[in-house]
């Protein structure tokens, strides 16, 4: 079995995922994933979660069903996805072609003191996703894999996809996005053309 953790720099990986993002809509899971997405470039089509652990993929599903012509990418961590593991089964029942999930997997709960997570202790999120019924899964350990995954995002018939992205377990400096939830909500809806009442 390969090592549970990887070597990819999380900031570089997320920056590469979001390069030339076009009409991509992004939901980020709480903690480091939100910091990574913010660090890659502030955008009105980003919705950063600061809580709601376990909910990122389901927020992504609700959005993907509401906006079937836009690609939706959930970027979250292994710990966050593990807490909402059942959502992978729920997403599979709907087969939203425009929804992709990138799990930044360092095998640890990074925000809380780097305790080993279930994925660090052997669980394979891409295999779980496949068993849940998500047909398009990948296990990415290098930047070439990131590039391939990024190029696939705009294929609205190719999802749902889940990529486990093996990142290094080191701490990186925090980059803090806005945390007023109502502001983030209204900004995002405004980006999609909905009036703030």
């Amino acid at each position: 079995m390969s090592a549970p953790t990887g070597t990819l720099d999380r900031r570089a990986a997320v920056k590469a995922l979001l390069a030339d993002r076009g009409d991509l809509l992004v939901i980020s899971g709480l903690g480091s994933s939100s910091y990574d997405v913010f660090d890659a470039g502030e955008h009105r089509g980003n919705f950063y979660l600061w809580g709601a652990m376990g909910g990122a993929a389901m927020v992504g599903l609700g959005l993907a069903l509401a906006q079937p012509k836009r690609p939706v990418l959930v970027i979250t961590g292994d710990g966050e996805q593990l807490m909402g593991i059942g959502s992978l089964l729920t997403i599979a029942t709907k087969q939203p072609g425009n929804l992709s999930i990138a799990v930044l997997d360092n095998g640890h709960f990074g925000e809380t003191g780097m305790q080993p997570s279930h994925s660090g202790l052997g669980a394979k999120l891409e295999v779980i996703a496949s068993g849940a019924g998500i047909g398009n899964v990948s296990d990415i350990a290098d930047m070439a894999g990131i590039e391939r995954f990024r190029n696939s995002l705009r294929d609205l018939g190719g999802g749902p996809r889940l990529a486990r992205i093996r990142i290094a377990a080191g701490e990186v400096e925090r980059a803090l996005p806005p945390r007023d939830g109502a502001y983030l909500k209204n900004r995002f809806r405004g980006h999609l053309g909905f009036q703030v009442r």
Binding site: A52, G55, G60, G62, A64, L65, T90
Partner: protein
């Protein structure tokens, strides 16, 4: 399925799920998610049969809270159906709705409050209103089948126009006594 029948004016006091369905349609609800429940079975069937409603079965209730947030971000109105036994599962995820002032409309069939034979249903049933209220949600009661349209309509306005989290608790008395055995008491 029942689309034609539903659009004929056929609601009676026993057809409260049809009255709820029509009211949700009038409010433009585009997404329904649910954890299965016998009391909601008719509404779930109507929802699945409606091509204009994206209907999602959940593994646990809090998924539907997060789904409702994502739906709203994308311009869809969503409704979450569950039984009172699942309300406790939602408590933490309700902070997402409060923090962002996301609308939430959830319709909860009650257990543990009327002719309940299963004692295991009683603690969560009894705590259901408080479980919503501690997270800032508004709790409305639907006690009488004839009030279905009025109560659901009030709840939907409060949620979608008032940006509130609203739970409508549907009394167990409306759903009827659950028949488990042939034994009589």
């Amino acid at each position: 399925m029942d689309q034609i029948a539903v659009h004929q004016d056929s609601a009676t006091s026993t057809d409260w799920p049809v009255a709820i369905y029509r009211t949700l349609k009038n409010f433009g609800v585009a997404q329904v998610s649910y954890v299965p429940d016998a009391g909601h079975s008719k509404l779930i069937k109507l929802s699945h049969a409606d091509a204009d409603i994206k209907t999602t079965v959940l593994t646990t209730e809090e998924e539907g809270v997060a789904l409702s947030a994502g739906a709203w971000l994308g311009g869809d109105r969503a409704v979450l159906l569950m039984q009172s036994s699942g309300v406790g599962n939602c408590v933490n995820m309700l902070s997402l709705m409060a923090s962002c002032r996301f609308p939430l409309l959830t319709l909860v069939t009650m257990r543990g409050e009327w002719a309940e034979f299963n004692p295991w249903q009683i603690p969560m049933g009894r705590a259901t209103p408080q479980a919503f209220e501690i997270m800032g949600a508004t709790v409305l009661r639907l006690e009488n089948p004839d009030d279905a349209e009025e109560v659901i309509s009030a709840a939907a306005s409060l949620a979608y126009d008032g940006d509130q989290q609203v739970a409508v608790l549907i009394s167990q008395r409306m759903i009827g006594r659950k028949k488990w055995t042939k034994e009589t008491h």
